[in-house]
């Protein structure tokens, strides 16, 4: 039992929860969006500075559980410096990583450090915690900052 829990709450995740990276409101971001999970009340705001098709800065604010906070924190690290197109395709890979069938071995290629979230697929109730920041990122980039909801 404890193994499954450790699988979910990896040391990296606990660390990002305690000390979230890029946890700040930047001056004049080019893109931003709010994300909200009405089921649990988790809130996140994602801020981006996009220049010449590249995410040159990413940060966030909000409150939520360890999974959602760590996910937002690690997302900002993962997309910083990436072309917008790559950030969006990372969204797809991450989504597949956490929503894949619990039986199958997770596909971790191309997701880098985000592979620590593979344990989430064992906990269907927690998938939305992990994907909230990513839905919000997508909304900031594609939907003109419309509030992203997980429900």
């Amino acid at each position: 039992m404890m193994d499954d829990l450790r699988e979910l709450y990896q040391t990296t995740i606990l660390d990002h929860n305690k000390k979230p990276r890029n946890f700040r409101v930047p001056d004049g971001p080019s893109h931003e969006a709010d994300g909200f999970n009405p089921l649990c009340g988790d809130k996140v705001t994602v801020y981006l500075q996009v220049q010449d098709g590249r995410v040159i800065d990413a940060s966030f604010q909000g409150s939520g559980c360890a999974i959602s906070t760590a996910s937002a924190s690690m997302m900002t690290e993962a997309i910083k410096g990436a072309p917008v197109k790559e950030a969006l395709s990372l969204f797809e890979s991450f989504h597949d990583l956490v929503t894949g069938p619990a039986m199958d071995a997770p596909e971790t290629e191309g997701v880098g450090k985000l592979a620590v979230f593979a344990g989430v697929r064992e906990f269907p109730m927690r998938v939305k915690c992990a994907t909230l920041a990513w839905h919000t990122l997508k909304s900031a980039l594609e939907n003109g900052g419309e509030t992203a909801k997980t429900e």
Binding site: M1, L8, Y9, L14, G41, C65, A66, R126
Partner: protein, 406 residues
């Protein structure tokens, strides 16, 4: 008569199950209670031996099931201390009961500028129907504040009532905090001014004896599934003269007297509020739940849960990282808390892996969470089958979580 919760546990088949491979420690009775064998058997018996539609057939089976359905109504009436069984309307749940009153009584009795008084402690079920009614009528929703312990500010309540107040709707016991509200006082103060009172008893009826005539309330609602009965079965008690004066809520079969394409006439209460084929087995199951509780005695259950609540409170208060939310002098059955540095959802997942089922979230009481400035709480809630060991498991799980997040 002394009550033995260890013996009572064997009445609940689900308690023999495991959760994530560990013995189930069920601490979410405020969300829904588990069902005793007597209720499960009554529902099976209904379908296996007695089932037909009610109020329709002239054959023996239909006559008998109609009688069983109405006997369930009589049991509910006696359980609540209602004067007559026609004061008991069967609904789907407490939420539907409140919607019925807001839609029927509310539409008839509210006008622009009128006021509805509710409290900060309410479940969304006792907020949103009134909010929609007030929007429709251009009326005003007023909310009685609470103190830091989670108790109603009764002076504010009294001051809030005016000649524009049309109804007061309050919970008997708070689902999120366990506060037992001074409902007799609420009714007395409102009635002095001629204002009717609806009480949401969803969390009260499973925990202690309730007598609607002694309380003097005008409407009382509860859900069967929280009373160890089936889900999909709720109750609205309304004083006969109020129910008789109210228009139907939904319409269709079974609630009519005559129908023509020009005009229909309706049955009297409670039948005019029960359109279509109801949850027949649900009513019979609810009756069985009431019989089961009567066999134990609600006084014994009350005593047991108060004792367990105090024990749980003591254990939680001994953990420095834990902050109890809701410390009313009079509370029962519910322990809501937050743990420093750990979000309630993470706690819920960690406890789940230990076999412990609690609720983590806003408990359908978002304004209340805002009042305490927390996004959510962890809530352990008790039922008659809980024992001290359940709370010991909870505490062991909490220590594990605190260790992990340190």
């Amino acid at each position: 008569m002394s009550f033995d919760p260890y013996a009572a546990r064997s009445d609940f088949p689900i308690l023999e199950r495991t959760n994530r491979g560990k013995p189930l420690v069920y601490l979410d009775t405020a969300a829904s209670a588990q069902k005793p064998r007597a209720v499960i058997d009554a529902i099976s018996d209904c379908y296996e031996n007695h089932y037909a539609n009610i109020h329709r057939g002239v054959y023996e089976l239909s006559e008998r099931i109609t009688r069983m359905h109405e006997e369930a109504r009589e049991k509910v009436a006696a359980f609540l201390g209602a004067a007559e069984s026609r004061e008991i309307v069967f609904t789907r749940n407490a939420t539907e009961s409140i919607n019925l009153v807001a839609a029927s009584w509310g539409r008839q009795n509210l006008a622009a500028g009128d006021e509805v008084v509710i409290t900060t402690l309410e479940h969304h079920a006792n907020i949103v129907p009134w909010q929609l009614l007030c929007e429709e009528k251009n009326a005003r929703l007023r909310v009685v504040p609470i103190n830091d312990a989670g108790e109603l500010e009764m002076h504010s309540f009294e001051a809030m009532l005016s000649e524009r107040t049309r109804i007061v709707a309050a919970s008997h016991v708070s689902n999120a905090l366990g506060t037992i509200n001074p409902v007799r006082k609420i009714v007395a103060i409102a009635h002095e001014r001629g204002i009717p009172v609806l009480l949401d008893g969803a969390q009260a009826v499973p925990r202690f004896g309730v007598d609607v005539r002694e309380l003097g309330c005008d409407f009382y609602v509860f859900s069967g599934h929280k009373l160890y009965g089936p889900s999909g079965m709720g109750v609205l008690y309304g004083r006969a003269e109020l129910l008789e004066a109210m228009a139907p809520y939904q319409s269709g079969g079974d609630m009519i007297e005559t129908v023509s394409f020009e005009k229909s006439t309706f049955k009297s209460a409670p039948y005019k509020f029960e359109a279509g084929t109801p949850d027949i087995a649900g009513a019979i199951g609810l009756g069985a739940a009431i019989d089961y509780l009567a066999g134990i005695g609600l006084d014994a259950i009350e005593h047991h849960e108060l004792e367990l609540t105090a024990y749980g409170k003591e254990l939680l208060e001994a953990i420095p990282e834990v902050r109890l939310i809701g410390t009313a002098a009079k509370k029962t059955g519910v322990l809501s808390f937050v743990v420093e540095g750990i979000h309630p959802h993470d706690l819920g997942t960690i406890l789940d892996m230990e076999g412990v089922a609690i609720r983590a979230g806003h408990h359908c009481a978002q304004p209340l969470m805002e009042r305490f400035d927390v996004p959510a709480t962890a809530r352990a809630s008790l039922g008659l089958y809980n024992i001290r060991e359940d709370l010991d498991h909870l505490i062991a799980g909490l220590h594990k979580a605190i260790e992990m997040f340190r």
